[in-house]
Symmetry: C2
Subunit: 405 residues, 2 copies
């Protein structure tokens, strides 16, 4: 393990004194960004120690793209063609002996809910973002949604088959968060991607996540083995570490129309589609959670979610969201005897105060409540599963509501 | 005008070699972030020239918060209590003779639509975010949604009365964007806030925006004069510059139920509420735009939007979204004679190819199409206006679709 002191380009922040823009001029050359223009890539350098494996040769940090025969769009995107170690714009860098990725993000004002804590949706978005930025910095990213050059040559795209997220605590507005992500092997033809979300200030772990990915032929829509060409690209990035301890995976039951909560006729909107023209992952979760009554969210916080993906959801699908509480699971977890009152473990039908016995009450309040979910695409003749889900909840405590009135 | 070379704390990036986390340990102290730990606030410093007015005294940059009697949440948020000049986490800094704010952001993977360009919604989100970060860095931010300490002492909150955004070009996935924002006086008791969104690489202006704000008493819900205490806080930040040339403001007509497009029974969801427990601005725009047929969006790009806010929208409101094309406006703008075919200027009812005359066709294709919008809260006895809107559109050209198949 070698440790270098390496000079990197600073944030390309420009400081100008005044009149930096003119409301009439659309020509950037006519903008008066002239006085004290500090473009860090030229002058503002600083020493930063980067931890690199001794076997690796550092490629140049800037310019990140070889400026030959690039389209205008490629220039605007500036996707690196070689491995980079630091991305000052995304506040990302390569860690973990040169194969992991770490990015610092600030929870933005529009990424939090009414209680000023980040939503699960935004955590999922940030997982996607850091995964793509990891590939971005690796120099392997082709012009697609995380596909490598070798994958594009083989008409392959990534397909997620499973995602599991555990949230211990939600970050709050303005909080600085560090997200680590890395990849590993999953069987012979799959890839595992894990994440760890931490407080930048204290190192406290907010969330852990793991996912498994396989490759699909973009044209035949069939799953594919991992070609050797692609394995050669990504296998050097594989590490063993796991964010979530591997347990015997809990099977997610398939719900049917008899589920307690059913919302029908969900139609993807334009704004729900991602770059792959598919309904985004985050929308799946929103559809799943919106089956639960609002009141439930006031008293409960999502502490875990597992998603098993079955099929793509396109813009023309009509979706049904089913949800069923796993009452017995909650009871078994606390070692309490079974109770047949269905509403009891639902968490919102009865206020906890009316339950007898302090021990019972306090045990119950700590009980993670579980729900099983299913999204199906309703066809004329049959329905097709899109994604099965399991959510785990905990009672909100006052201390988890930092901005309560 | 003085120019300082000033040492600031670098991005607090930590580099560790391996095993930086253990899936079983939730104690941050037990994480093995031990090997090469570079916390910039201590060791990684770099010189950066910051342009400051000579009359200003620099307050310390780090630590940004005086660490006395802070709640846990205040420590996590770390809102500055004194004016700061640089925010390395948000990639923001004070410009414009010490009163403007500039932030560098990268367009994220989940902030773009299927065509890989940023959505209008995300541009509006970034305007909100940079405005709040401007107040954040100013040292004036109290524990609220942009309210200063003086405002909180007077039970005042900000209320936006008008927002106008012009988008020349939408940034694309991965593009680095610089957003400038600054404030000015608006009449005796109001404030104007402007923004300029530029390509970081070329300086090309992507978007301009302006808004006007007044103060409301949080308890009485009545508009308020600006107290001298508050004026003393914010007036030193006022500058004259305007992002959008002030024209005689176009009056936005009030639509009624006879509007061409009407979507009824819109209900705010939990995820639509912001920190003020109100439906977020972005949701307003989505409700407005969703009245237009999907096909329209395939061929048209929003180039401008003006919003006139009339009343808050809360979680219990049932909303109706009305929309009417301004056909005649389109004709007048191009100097063409009026045409009574209502469908012609609608932009999606007829393909442009069937229109006669090359000159006419090319003029029409460049014609900004305009729509008038209205959101109303439907009450039992009467409806109340929430926001009036005007949108301006242009035909999509191939060059504006960088990722078309």
């Amino acid at each position: 393990m070698a440790v270098f002191t390496y000079r990197i380009a600073m944030l390309p922040i420009r400081c100008s004194s005044s009149n930096s823009t003119n409301s009439h001029s659309h020509d950037p050359n006519q903008q008066n960004l002239h006085k004290i223009k500090i473009n860090g890539s030229a002058s503002a350098m600083m020493p930063l120690k980067v931890d690199l494996p001794s076997s690796l040769t550092i490629t140049s940090v800037a310019p990140v793209v070889e400026n030959l025969s690039l389209t205008k769009e490629q220039t605007r995107q500036n996707i690196p063609t070689k491995k980079q170690y630091i991305d000052p714009h995304r506040q990302g860098l390569i860690v973990e002996e040169g194969v992991g990725y770490r990015q610092t993000v600030v929870i933005r004002s529009y990424e939090v809910g009414p209680d000023k804590t980040a939503t699960l949706e935004i955590i999922l978005c940030l997982l996607q973002e850091t995964a793509l930025n990891h590939v971005w910095l690796s120099g392997l990213l082709s012009n697609g949604f995380g596909a490598t050059h070798g994958m594009v040559r083989n008409n392959l795209i990534w397909v997620v088959s499973k995602l599991q997220v555990q949230v211990d605590q939600y970050p709050i507005w303005g909080e600085v968060v560090e997200i680590d992500t890395w990849v590993g092997a999953s069987g012979k033809n799959g890839m595992r991607r894990d994440w760890l979300v931490r407080s930048q200030a204290t190192g406290q772990v907010f969330a852990r996540a793991t996912s498994t990915w396989v490759m699909m032929n973009e044209k035949t829509r069939r799953l594919s083995k991992m070609p050797e060409e692609v394995r050669a690209e990504i296998a050097p990035w594989f590490i063993e570490k796991q964010a979530i301890k591997e347990e015997v995976p809990e099977k997610i039951a398939k719900l049917d129309d008899k589920a307690r909560y059913v919302v029908t006729n969900l139609k993807p909107k334009r704004s729900d589609l991602d770059m792959n023209q598919h309904v985004n992952n985050v929308k799946y979760v929103r559809w799943m959670l919106e089956t639960l009554p609002d009141q439930f969210f006031e008293n409960h916080q999502l502490s875990g979610i597992t998603l098993e993906y079955k099929r793509e959801c396109g813009s023309s699908d009509i979706v049904e969201s089913l949800c069923e509480p796993d009452e017995e699971e909650g009871i078994i977890n606390t070692g309490l005897k079974q109770n047949n009152d269905k509403s009891l473990f639902n968490g919102f039908s009865l206020p906890s105060e009316i339950m007898e016995g302090n021990g019972f009450l306090s045990s119950l309040e700590k009980t993670p409540l579980k729900y099983t979910h299913l999204l199906v695409a309703k066809g004329k003749t049959q329905s097709e599963e899109i994604v099965r889900g399991k959510t785990i909840w905990k009672k909100k405590l006052l201390t988890t509501m930092p901005f309560s009135p």
